[in-house]
Amino acid sequence: MATLTGVLARPSGYTGVWSWITTVDHKRIGILYGFTAFAMLLIAGLEAGVMRSQLATADSELIGPGVFNQMFTMHATAMVFNVIMPLSASFFNLIVPLAIGARDVAFPRLNALSYWLFLFGTLLLHAGFLQNQAPDAGWFSYASLTEKPYSANAGLDFWALGLLVLGTSSVAAALNFTVTIINMRAPGMGLMRMPLFIWMTLITSILLILAFPVITVGLIELTMDRNFGTHFFMPQGGGDPLLWQHLFWVFGHPEVYILILPPMGVVSEVLPAFSRKPLFGYPFMVFSGIVIGIMSWAVWSHHMFTTGLGPVANSVFTITTMLIAVPTGVKIFNWIGTMWGGAIEFKTSMLFAVGFIALFIIGGLSGVSHAVAPADSQQQDTYYIVAHIHYVLFGGSLFGIFAGIYYWGPKFTGKMFGEGLGKLHFWLMFIGMNVTFFPMHFVGMNGMPRRVYTYSAESGFQLLNSLSSLGYIILFFAFVVFIINFLRSSKNGAEAGNDPWDAPGLEWSISSPPPAYNFAKIPQVLGRDHFWIVKELAREAGQGPVQAEAHVDERTIHMPSPSYWPIIIAFGVTWIAGGILTHYALSFIGGLIAFVGVVGWGNEPASAQSDH
């Protein structure tokens, strides 16, 4: 169909908005993911602020229950699917090709498609707000509450369909990175020489491609219950609401490891750099990550201890859940071993990495207490669980991500971030986080349930809730400080140079920011911590400091060309989902658009002839 691709000329520029819309460059896609996810972080954070304002005082009338329900649902859903996952995806995009010595990912257009599906899926998920029908059944949306007539408005359809689109985005990206990591490593980089972040990316990607189909089926069945008259989860028709819980949590538990493994990988990169020591126990770190990935499939019903599974099931899942704490503990000891005896430099990135370890330990300890089924019957659905979640996801994932932002930020902006503001950001966030979430352990054990829009004055929860709400204000300022630091540094920061931290990874051997082609010459990898080896060899040979790889004329290195098909297909796919909410004709049109997109993509070579 030459005429199809000929109608609109294949984009070739690298400047302007159109170049961003049609980009297939992994670095640009990483930036797109990062900015979109950060915007969603602010939005979801404001939703948290609404909740904390309401819960600051007993019997508060500030926010009604209907709006509150929307807040906790969208705060959690957005944080999981629109913030942590895409921030991790941002890192995958920015770092993976550089760290393995590749010029791009295996499928650049598929990569772009993943981003546009993510953006449009996020918009679809939030579209309910426009009609005051945001999803309001909690982020795991248990049946039968989610069925009509109990949730009569369209909110949960937005939730289910938005997540279906987001799922395709995640699976596409995960497929891409799996192939990239297996198949595009530079010569000499065997699997056991890969940076640990790359290992965690690989495990996370495999978890993604295996876990998302399960929730896809669950969401399809929920959509069919709500719109096509089936009774998959409705007892009136013989269905079992528990099946939804099983399907959700078979996905949901690997999902939380998907949320934590990449930040663990980041921490495993940051600690060696700022301890001036290689990662302690590299093979143990790799194998513990693999074991966590495999075992994450065997623990899901610990989210369902109070649903009447019976003593045998509860015991089995108690045991498996306690066992999965072991490889996690292995990682923590190896991180401590990395720092032990090292020449530690507490840059902001290092502070966040160490903060990660401390806070994740606390979250892990409360997690192990949930693992015991009888204890969990007191803790389930209380704020004790909310405390656990936030210690591992905020204190864990988000701290790890910020460690990565401060570590790799200079590589992509070319500027150093301000250390003073960075440290202020860290301390505000560390203190704020503890003030907000530590009291929740106590208020939860004393009986305050989750997902309640208010509590009575007699309950005694007031004091600790006010403390949590105060902590939110501290966190708010932490984010303000970060934004100021980021904006100021991007404009006026000191030049970073290619290797500001004297770090071990391949990515530090090229300029900051990297050229479009990444490496002028694909390196021959000499071992783990390759760039340290290179620098050591140069020192021994008496040569001066190792310079960044010199730039060459971009036109001599052929790179994949930009394409407009990914955004077109993403648009079509979103309309397939959106049409189910509005008119089926729109689904059909969306399908046609996607089909045309696929045909156009298939007929377009990976790089245009003119680019050679």
Binding site: A106, L175, N183, T216, G218, M224, F232, G238
Partner: protein, 212 residues
């Protein structure tokens, strides 16, 4: 994907760590993911087997002989697909076109059987909403049928390219990847046929308590 029968420069000859082609690896990883998708749908069916509150029940509806024929049709289409790939490898242009069209044709016949079958079921009272059997049966076989339909469209597209002379040994990978997808859809049907028809096809509702 390549334009001409000559391989596109920089495409197939790119260095890869394992020596395997990116797209072939992608298809196998995708099939692993699709296993989970169909596995979950099948698990839903198996969990809800015997749970329907009212009829029609499988024994009233399922027609094993007719579906056995459509199973044969799909198995034949897999054979045709394999022949199409072999023809591509030996650059037999006429055979490529014939076998690709044959595969698409047999796949379309299978879909035809499904449509006629489902229509008959609907006329006998089995709908999505009537009971759990209807819900899980139509969802599972419906998504399988959608996969087959996408495969038929892909096959027809490949046949169009074949008629333009653009399918040959240099582009055999494209046919091979299509073949992987097509055979996968076939083996999923083998599982569905065994569970839903051979084993589950004779399920009745709960039997009256003995003694009346």
């Amino acid at each position: 994907m390549a334009h001409a029968v000559e391989p596109a420069p920089h495409a197939e000859e790119e260095y890869t760590t394992t020596g395997l082609n990116h797209r072939k690896l992608l298809m196998w990883v995708f099939l692993g993911s699709d296993c989970m998708f169909f596995g979950t749908l099948i698990a839903t069916y198996m969990v809800y087997r015997g749970q329907s509150l009212n009829g029609p029940y499988p024994i009233d509806i399922i027609n094993v002989p007719v579906t056995t024929i459509s199973t044969f049709v799909l198995l034949c289409s897999s054979f045709a697909m394999v022949q199409a790939l072999a023809a591509t490898n030996r650059d037999d242009q006429k055979a490529i076109r014939i076998w690709l069209l044959a595969t698409a044709f047999l796949g379309a016949i299978f879909i035809g059987f499904q449509i006629v079958e489902f229509n008959a079921f609907k006329n006998e009272g089995l709908t999505l909403g009537v009971n759990l059997f209807g819900a899980s049966f139509f969802t599972l076989t419906g998504f399988h049928g959608a996969h087959v339909t996408l495969g038929v469209i892909w096959l027809l597209g490949m046949a169009v390219l074949a008629f333009k002379g653009r399918v040959g040994p240099a582009t055999a990978l494209d046919v091979e990847i299509l073949g992987l997808y097509w055979h996968f859809v076939d083996i999923v049907w083998i599982i569905i046929f065994t569970l839903l028809y051979l084993i589950g096809g004779f399920d009745t509702g709960p039997l009256p308590p003995s003694g009346g």
